[in-house]
Amino acid sequence: MSKILHWLCIASILFLLTGCWNYRELDDWSVVTAMGVDKGEKGKRYRVSYQVVNSGSLAGGGGQSGRGTGTRGTPTVTYSSTGDNLYETIVNTNLKAPRKLFFAHQRLLLIGESVAREGIEHLLDRLERDEHGRLNIIVMVVRDGQAESLINFLSPLERISAYSLSETLKVAEQFTGMNWVTDLSEVINDLSSKGKEPLVSGVKLIGDQQMGDQQTNIQESRLSARTELNGVAMFKKGKLVRWLEGERARGVAFILNRLQGTLLTLGCDGSEKETVGIYLNRFTTKRSIRVRKNKPVIRIDVNSEGSIGEMDCPLNLEDPRQIERLQQKSNQKIKKDIREAIKTAQKSKSDIFGFGELLHQQDPQTWRSLKKDWPRHFAKARIEIKVHTFIRLTGMRINTYPNPR
């Protein structure tokens, strides 16, 4: 008996010794869903806005909660602070926010265009260093504007606008192929690699800029202020150098083998108005690089597969040669996209595709000699493109319905 008592005494000391070192009740946290970095004012380098979830307004789901709370408020609340680095702004935010900011559930990092143009090389260190930080945060650049305006933005379908943006981007990646998800770890990898530069999707607030943070904005069916994905930001040495638009961005996606789905719109023979829409949904891209006579030769092999989604011209698809022709046309189109994408990159001497890295892997010896002046070598590289498209299906019908006229 006394032996047990002994052990109980000793065990109870354990509770005195440790304490609750990181014990925190849920309601002590403010969940940060998005973070927007803008240029600072009054001599400070950054002005950072934090989108914090107003859980009381969201937890409802009808019934019990929300009782006695009176006004529910907006789903998210923004806190902004200035500072010379991110950590300083976090600390300064606690002068304003009643709870500790909690970053483990952050979904989005928005970078204002002006900050991006000045360079984001070491901006991301804090996010990686934080023990609560997540590396799968989606990074986006806010085009022609302040990141804060998007952090403030209230969205109608997803109540938290950070989710709205990230979901939009995911859907766009799947269907347009002109924007794609880039997460924090990818950006950091690209920034720290010598032969690669990051590519980050752009987003824009359009319409009535003043309405974005108003609750009345989401009470209209046609929003006065809304967001739109717009272009892909191309970086060089950590600085935004130019925007890739539409099909040029798609060309990049082809080369990077990042495409999940895209629509090719081809003209019909002899008619400008009529078109064929081919939805491509399977891709493989093989890339190789070798150096011939001190000049890099880049070879790109694209295999893609898809189906006809719409056809408003009277092509006879029962004839396999017609399909063949459509495939040829698709090949030409894709080839053009790719060529333009590379040319754009070459013009700004930014190896966004990681061909330098590829050379490093395939031919380390040569890479060592070209490493120093890689952007210049990349700019004059020769490009060989080979595309093979296969149309597997024609949709639910073969030919379009006949037009009697």
Partner: protein
């Protein structure tokens, strides 16, 4: 532990002294007087003395205890034969001849014995036998008239099944043995009786199948039963605590059941059952942790369904063990592990709760335990009121008043339902105790604490034995053969070996070549 020894010694000193084992007197009058005195002139002792035969002065007395004899048998086959059908006794017959005659033919009941010693006779009397004493005899004849009011066989209360036999043990040992024997009609079903309890003299039967149960196991059980020294055994729980291997554990190391089919199944596996008079709960040894998750219905349903339901039982045990602890640990230490939308909901709910998560959880779990206990203890008529108050107070009002979060109520409810889904009551109550420990550790050390507790728990279970069988067999030690009937249940014909963990003498159940009766040959339908 020291406390125990001391009290034992004290008990030995004040031990009740029974009258020494003396032979019977040959004077009827003084025997009866002595008997009455011995039983404290108890009114339920019935003495009926009369003259045997016509015109005889040969006095005999029939003595029995009212209430534990079968009055019908007594009147029909003892009293009547002695008093009315005893015409053939005339004066010529000597007293010794009369004794022989009664022993041989007059008492037309099953079990007739003669006793020369006083103690033997009283034991027989208190077991419900009728004793015949005679003038000039120095021995007593006992006839088996055991009976009295007993409960009929009813449906089992604690281990119910959808498919399977619906009988359960009763409070009468004889009936219970009969229920087993009806299932196992083999001469090898052996029963060893002992009496336990200095005062209660409770009949305890050790039942096993000769040739299946391991001799070593039988010896251990015998030895442990013999060692029991206590004044009274009122339930098999008394025996269980005496014979179990380790007292300081929340886990039961003796299996108990009120179903004769479970006992029979276990006997067939080479286990030993211990039946105690006056209780419908039989003990089965040795057992393993996993036996408590095997419902008897697992063997009555098809094997795939049985496997599924069995896995559900294991899962629900785990759920009832750790759910509140994990909830506390996640919400107070690891909010990053909760999916974001759920986290936002939880924060929103928690905002207005005045207590920390641990206090909330402990209060809710505790009040649930109170309601559960009240539901069991309250008189039947009140149990409805208990559930209504419990459900309304816990489920509705507490949440509406903002004293607990709806999610905590869900956690408590899941825990409760999961703990009801166990095949055996003793194992689910063990989880109740451990759950509170885990909740504290979860609140003080987070998932780290829960993990440590689980490691300790498994280490502790590894130290347990049940009559020579490791408690975690067949996982520690690993016995591949027994896996067929542990987490899963393979078809009956594929279970052709008895569990090796209990070392049965014969380990094959289904003979070679008969193991795949339903295996289909190509092109032929099975007959």
């Amino acid at each position: 532990m020291r406390f125990f020894h001391r009290s034992k010694r004290g008990r030995q000193a004040s031990e009740m002294e029974r009258s020494g084992d003396i032979p019977l007197n040959d004077d009827l009058e003084s025997n009866i007087k002595q008997l009455k005195k011995e039983l404290g002139y108890s009114p339920d002792l019935v003495v009926r003395s009369f003259d045997l035969g016509k015109n005889s002065d040969f006095r005999v007395a029939v003595v029995y205890m009212e209430g534990i004899v079968d009055e019908k048998v007594l009147n029909q086959w003892v009293m009547k034969t002695l008093m009315i059908d005893s015409g053939e006794f005339d004066q010529k017959i000597s007293k010794e001849e009369a004794l022989e005659l009664i022993k041989k033919s007059a008492l037309s009941v099953g079990n007739v014995e003669s006793h020369r010693s006083w103690n033997q006779m009283i034991d027989a009397l208190l077991n419900g036998q009728a004793i015949v004493l005679g003038e000039g005899w120095s021995e007593a004849i006992s006839g088996d008239t055991t009976g009295g009011e007993t409960k009929p066989i009813t449906e089992p209360q604690s281990q119910t099944v959808v498919r399977g036999p619906k009988d359960s043990f009763t409070e009468t040992l004889q009936t219970n043995l009969g229920l087993i024997r009806r299932r196992l009609k083999t001469p090898n079903l052996w029963v060893e009786n002992t009496n336990c309890g200095k005062i209660s003299r409770t009949k305890v039967s050790m039942v096993y199948i000769k040739g299946l149960a391991n001799e070593e196991l039988l010896n251990t059980v015998r030895k442990r039963l013999e060692k029991i020294e206590i004044d009274g055994i009122l339930e098999s729980g008394y025996i269980e605590e005496f014979i179990q291997d380790k007292a300081w554990t929340p886990f039961p190391t003796v299996f108990s059941t009120e179903r004769p089919d479970i006992v029979s199944g276990n006997l067939l596996e080479g286990r030993v059952a211990i039946l105690v008079d006056n209780t419908p709960f039989a003990l089965v040894v040795p057992t393993t942790f996993f036996q408590f998750f095997q419902s008897v219905e697992d063997y009555y349903q098809r094997f795939d369904i049985a496997t599924f339901t069995r896995l559900i039982r294991y899962f629900s045990y785990l759920v009832s063990l750790v759910t509140p602890a994990i909830y506390i640990a996640l919400t107070s230490f690891h909010p990053e592990m909760i999916p974001t939308p759920l986290l936002i909901k939880l924060i929103g709910q928690r905002k207005e709760i005045p207590f920390p998560a641990l206090v909330e959880a402990l209060a809710m779990e505790f009040s649930f335990e109170v309601i559960r206990e009240a539901g069991v203890r309250a008189p039947r008529v009140l149990s409805g009121a208990v559930t209504i108050v419990g459900a309304i107070v816990l489920g509705e009002t507490v949440v509406r008043a903002g004293l607990a979060t709806p999610s905590m109520v869900i956690v408590v409810a899941i825990t409760a339902i999961a703990s009801f889904a166990s095949a055996s009551f003793p194992i689910s109550i063990s989880a109740r105790l451990i759950r509170f420990l885990l909740m504290l550790l979860g609140a003080f050390f987070g998932l780290f604490g829960i993990l440590l507790a689980m490691i300790l728990l498994i280490a502790h279970m590894n130290t347990l034995y049940s009559f020579g069988t490791p408690y975690l067999a067949p996982f520690a030690p690993l016995i591949v053969n027994d896996q067929k009937d542990t987490l899963i249940r393979v078809p009956i014909w594929a279970l052709y070996r008895r569990p090796k963990s209990i070392h049965p003498v014969q380990d094959t159940k289904v003979p070679e070549g008969k193991r795949h009766l339903t295996k289909r040959r190509k092109g032929r339908r099975p007959r």
